[in-house]
Amino acid sequence: MTDQVSLTFDGVAITAAAGQSVGAALTDAGIRSWRSTRRGGRPRGLFCGIGVCFDCLVTVDGRPNQRACLVPVRDGMRLESGGLREVDARG
């Protein structure tokens, strides 16, 4: 059996197989969208699945705009839905 890891999506616990991508973990958890578009406020999730389309952007451990289809899950990872990156004055 493969190892399981635990993570949270917007505070809700989900589990995934170690080595999966964040996008796969969310898909397996029945979550299909985690971002809303800038202009129309429309929901988006995975589309190209291989890092090309940037539809699947998600905040990973506080880092915004990570491609869910490329980032591997890690035990204890915090995922957050959202839209745009907030810029911090202190850098």
Partner: protein, 385 residues
């Protein structure tokens, strides 16, 4: 219409050609625009849309900028929404006390010349731009600095002119001029000749080549600039923000790489970060040192942008004249020919004032402001001696 020819042929469908087409049709002239590529395929699609008064010192360019500013808000005000016209104001920042002293002197001269400018103390900067670095000595705020989306601006001016009867021929290259002695009576193109009462050279960075085809010298040269474009962000940069040394850089004649920071947000959420100035001819090779320097200086002002992604970069060739003034007016050396070109890094902002002045000159109307500092023949030898 067979047998009829337009009053004016405009060469080039960039900002200057578009503005000329609009003002000329408004003045009742029939206009044909001839463009070798597609509309806005020149420098107008490789720039930023700043309409600045803040980077100008007292003198003819400032007068032209103030005239243009009036036109953007007045005569063209009703169309502002079409080209994302925004009166967002400019913030020029100084990093050091010395820089601030220089900026204060500049603003005093500018105020005397009619520019609306107020000083911003270091502890007030945050109210203007919350994400700017706190390590600044002070700033100056210029409410008259505005912004447009330059491609939309030129395309809509062409559309408005077309609705008044102008014709736009794309994919048509001007290869020479029709002459009657000294007089220019039309253009030769790769798709046939077009006779016209006036020919306007609005060929931007290539205006010098066109002038040469007519046998007159108009020294317009390319000055390369790069711009960086970020990922779409929530509103982060609220004004046009630039570093005090920007003004010095626009006026410089130095050949080497110069960069100074100009940062602005756009409607699309992207932040445009400029820019560099280099004299390298029409070399399109992307220079990593130039891009790196632009990025580094931007981070000095906005450290919070460090993790922000850049989606793309683009480059353009500013059309500049040796004295950093544009060429606007009819050419006494080749009657029938007029020029409106060489606006360097300000051709978007200055387009409407320039076009208005040129149309006044072609129709014999009283010029709104003195046009002689821009006369095309000012570079010729007899003037120098």
């Amino acid at each position: 219409m067979p047998g009829t020819h337009p009053d004016v042929v405009v060469i080039g469908a960039g900002a200057l050609g578009a503005a000329t087409a609009w003002f000329a049709t408004r003045a009742g002239l029939t206009v044909e625009v001839v463009e070798r590529g597609s509309i806005v395929s020149g420098t107008t699609s490789a720039c930023e849309g700043n309409l600045l008064v803040s980077d100008k010192e007292a003198g003819p360019e400032l007068d032209l900028a103030l005239l243009s500013h009036q036109l953007w808000r007045g005569e063209l005000g009703e169309f502002g929404g079409l080209w994302e016209f925004e009166e967002k104001g400019g913030l020029v920042v100084a990093a050091t006390a010395g820089g601030m002293a220089g900026l204060t002197e500049l603003t005093e001269r500018q105020r005397a010349a009619g520019i609306d400018v107020r000083e911003v103390a270091a502890d007030e900067i945050h109210d203007f731009e919350p994400h700017l670095t706190p390590d600044l000595a002070g700033a100056a705020f210029y409410p008259q600095d505005c912004q447009v989306q330059p491609m939309l601006m030129a395309a809509h001016l062409l559309r408005l002119a077309r609705e008044l009867g102008a014709r736009v021929r794309t994919g048509t290259t001007v290869t020479g001029f029709l002459r009657d002695g000294d007089r220019v009576t039309g253009v030769r193109t790769d798709r046939g000749d077009i006779a016209a009462g006036h020919v306007v050279n609005a060929a931007g960075t290539w205006a010098g080549e066109l002038a040469a085809l007519a046998g007159v010298e108009v020294p317009v040269l390319p000055r390369r600039g790069f711009i960086l474009v970020t990922e779409p962000l929530p509103p982060t940069v609220f004004h046009k923000v630039y570093a005090g040394e920007y003004v010095a850089s626009t006026q410089s004649s130095d050949e080497g790489l110069q960069t100074s920071t100009v940062i602005e947000g756009t409607r699309a959420g992207t932040v445009l970060i400029g820019s560099s100035r280099e004299r390298v001819g029409f070399d399109r090779t992307v220079s990593l040192p130039a891009l790196r320097e632009i990025a580094g200086k931007a981070l000095a002002l906005y450290p919070g942008l460090a993790p922000v992604a850049l989606m793309r970069t683009y480059l353009g060739f500013r059309p500049y004249c040796p004295d950093h003034l544009p060429v606007i007016g009819t050419d006494p050396r080749a009657p029938g020919l007029a020029h409106v070109a060489g606006h360097e890094g300000a051709g978007i902002g200055l387009s409407v004032g320039s076009a208005k002045l040129l149309v006044e000159a072609m129709t014999g109307a009283t010029p709104t402001i003195d046009i002689t500092p821009f006369r095309p023949e000012r570079f010729s030898l007899q003037e120098v001696s």
